[in-house]
């Protein structure tokens, strides 16, 4: 099986998969029958169960028919000597995304999204990843301060059947990190087919502030656009220019789901895990959203927003207060950039009974003080462009990725000014591994207050120049920086840095 094939795309598994495919097709017919019954008012689901809603759904794409799935929180296999040890298998799996269909995926523990790890600042974790796929894989902890050997560099892979113990020091402030495959040249494929998971790092500060940390009210929302084949399998089509675009939005692996909420304060942690789609999210008719954190953790102060723009690989944490709504209220989170109903509907919040004393608080005023960066000791300009000389390739400073070449050698503890210059007509979410940066200038206007904290990914808009200031701490070693539009990164929009002492 070549890695460019979908999961279960070949070999002995294929027959099983086809059988699933055919039974799924049989279910399409069942579906139609159910719809017609519903039309004749013969059946009426009284209990608002998930099955009942699904029964009433006209097509597998009907929005807000399914309850939001919450990926399970992974339990450590050992907690000795202050280190939490986790174990995960990277494997194929089958999941039900369209009701009545099975979708073959790659998944951490065989599920999509993968299990959530909840880690604590100052308490290291070791994640033993076992590659049960038939091709190389590896794991990048996106946004983490991670030693180079554990960062998931494209050339550091876990061979099929082998394991690797990723050691994460967790020596950084609370933030929504995420883990995903980063093997060379195939992330557009492997992330699309499911190798994505959340890693929530907490600390004392967020507890002092009273932010929700209880998993019932602190919810990771992994948003990604997908498309499907008639047998329910994911449909992928190559688009090196724009990046993949799907006609359906999945949140935590469900088509535009509904989320039952109590009359409580919720911390919604948004991750754009799409290959290349950016979203502009709006709640209801434009209700204000309170953003408290971005990629690198808390903002200095909460920021009120009427819409939220989130590019691939970015994270945004929102506090949404449902206490003011009576049970039965429904509010839709929409992507106003969507080109169809399927790409506009993201999630609906359905307010249910329950609430009462709220132990969590809406922070006001200063949440955090960002460390002062050392003065930059170099300035670099990185032009982002599409080249056709040797096949179609995206480039940074007219170079494509070469694992044998180090493109920058900054000194540990220093900082530089990096100017992303994007004359192309595509958005490039530029990501730096193992370190964080701050945005210092945008040619398109002022830097939004919500983008002034630590970042690890910045969406450089078409025609825009964005200057960021990375801080080369805390580790020496070889890392990469690349475009997180996965088709761009794979087709070779990635360079290397080596932080030296």
């Amino acid at each position: 099986m070549t890695p460019q094939q979908p999961p279960f795309g070949a070999g002995s598994n294929r027959r099983d998969f086809m059988r699933n495919g055919f039974s799924s097709l049989a279910l399409v017919c069942t579906f139609a029958a159910q719809s017609s019954l519903k039309g004749a008012e013969i059946t009426r689901s009284t209990a608002p169960t998930s099955a009942g809603r699904r029964f009433k759904a006209a097509t597998p794409f009907t929005p807000f028919s399914r309850d939001l799935p919450i990926p399970p929180t992974l339990s450590p296999v050992s907690t000795r000597q202050g280190v939490d040890v986790y174990a995960m298998d990277i494997q194929e799996g089958l999941t039900e995304i369209l009701p009545g269909f099975e979708t073959p995926i790659y998944g951490y523990e065989g599920i999509y999204p993968g299990p959530t790890i909840r880690a604590r600042k100052g308490r290291p974790t070791i994640v033993r990843q076992t590659n049960k796929l038939s091709f190389d894989s590896n794991v990048h902890l996106h946004g983490g301060y991670v030693p180079s050997a554990h960062d998931g560099h494209p050339m550091d892979v876990i061979l099929p059947g082998k394991s690797f113990d990723y050691t994460y020091p967790n020596d950084q402030d609370a933030a929504y990190l995420w883990y995903h495959d980063h093997a060379h040249g195939r992330t557009a494929h492997t992330l699309y087919y499911g190798l994505v998971g959340s890693y929530l790092l907490s600390d004392d500060r967020e507890e002092e502030l009273g932010l929700p940390t209880d998993p019932e009210f602190d919810i990771p929302l992994t948003i990604a656009d997908h498309a499907f084949n008639k047998d329910g399998s994911f449909r992928y089509s190559e688009n090196v220019d724009l990046g993949f675009r799907g006609d359906t939005i999945l949140v935590n692996g469900a088509v535009s789901p509904r989320m039952a909420v109590k009359r409580r304060l919720y911390r919604l942690r948004l991750l754009n895990a799409s290959n290349a789609r950016s979203y502009t999210l709006k709640l209801g008719n434009g209700r204000t959203l309170l953003q408290v954190a971005s990629d690198g953790g808390l903002l200095e102060q909460p920021v009120l927003r009427s819409t939220v723009l989130i590019h691939p690989a970015e994270r945004i944490e929102l506090l949404v207060d449902f206490r003011g709504f009576r049970p039965g209220s429904e509010i839709v989170l929409q992507n106003i950039d969507g080109e169809s109903a399927g790409t506009r509907n993201v999630l609906r919040f359905d307010v249910e009974r329950g609430g009462g004393a709220e132990e969590f608080k809406v922070p006001r005023g200063r949440m955090r003080t960002i460390e002062k960066l050392p003065a930059p000791n170099a300035s670099r300009r990185w032009d982002l462009s599409l080249a056709t000389a040797s096949g179609v390739q995206w480039r940074i400073a007219d170079r494509g990725y070469d694992p044998e070449r180090i493109d920058v050698r900054p000194r540990l503890g220093t900082s530089e000014l990096w100017q992303w210059h994007n004359p192309s007509n595509r958005i490039h979410p530029m990501h730096l591994h193992g370190m964080l940066f701050r945005i210092v200038e945008r040619s398109s206007g002022v830097i939004h207050p919500a983008d002034r904290s630590w970042k690890d990914t910045v969406g450089v808009l078409a025609g825009e120049t964005v200057t960021v200031q990375p801080w080369f701490v805390p580790y020496t070693g070889r890392y990469v920086f690349h475009c997180h539009a996965l088709e761009h990164g794979d087709k070779a929009m990635m360079l290397q840095l080596e932080v030296e002492r």
Partner: protein, 236 residues
């Protein structure tokens, strides 16, 4: 010179004239990221032209597949553009030639049949046929019932209980947090908090003998507060 010009005009005319309809034009489309024709059939010596009118995405056309009948096809590769310039290739050798936009290599593919029988496209299995999301369900962005009503506190009664205690009963009409305060001379002496809805009671203990003012206020989940309810009690 004159002859060369005439030749060029002739070549141009050959492309544009319907009399030479065997020459084929294939158009690249942004919608669906595909070619308007997935297969064209020509005779040896005829020309296929690929065009990209009005496209917003980067396209081009290139020869696809190994060892084509005409070796020149292997290096056929037009420049990328938005929109891309037209590109033509004259096929002299009979055979089957695949073309592709390498930017959209899984959907923008096609075949030129030169002097050979056209193979009808195979029926794709379900795992290769698109299952399009054509949902158009009407969506109401908000159907909200905002709670702006103050909770109502009624049937407030206070009585002495044994052991310097005061028992306060009340009724509240929605899920609320009710705070009960015993004050004396303007100072709060004791407080108690009760959550719930309906008839509730709470016993406030440890008050020294004396006359107290008893104050109750309910705050609902939305934060709406009831008017203060006041009464008095003497603890013995």
């Amino acid at each position: 010179m004159k002859r060369a010009l005439a030749g060029a005009v002739l070549a141009f005319g050959a492309l544009a004239s319907p009399a030479w309809a065997e020459n084929q034009v294939v158009t690249g489309l942004d919608v669906g990221l595909k070619w308007d024709k997935e297969a064209v059939s020509i005779q040896p010596g005829e020309t296929v032209t690929w065009t990209f009118p009005g496209t917003q995405q980067a396209h081009h056309v290139a020869g696809n597949g190994s060892e084509p009948a005409d070796p020149a096809w292997a290096s056929f590769n037009s420049p990328l553009g938005v929109p891309a310039p037209d590109a033509s290739f004259t096929f002299a050798t009979p055979g089957v030639y695949r073309y592709v936009c390498t930017v959209h290599s899984s959907s923008m593919v096609g075949t030129v049949y030169v002097g050979t029988a056209v193979t009808p496209p195979a029926l794709l299995p379900p795992n290769q046929q698109p299952f399009e999301n054509q949902d158009a369900s009407p969506v109401t962005l908000e159907k909200v019932d905002e709670d702006k009503a103050k909770p109502r506190l009624t049937s407030v009664s206070v009585r002495r209980a044994s052991g310097h205690a005061v028992r306060v009963r009340f009724r509240v009409d929605e899920e609320s947090t009710v705070q009960v305060r015993l004050t004396r001379g303007g100072r709060t002496i004791k407080t108690a908090t009760v959550e719930g809805t309906g008839t509730r009671s709470v016993t406030v203990r440890g008050a020294r003998p004396g006359r107290y003012r008893v104050e109750l206020r309910a705050t609902d989940i939305a934060g709406n507060r009831s008017p203060l309810k006041r009464t008095t009690i003497t603890v013995r």
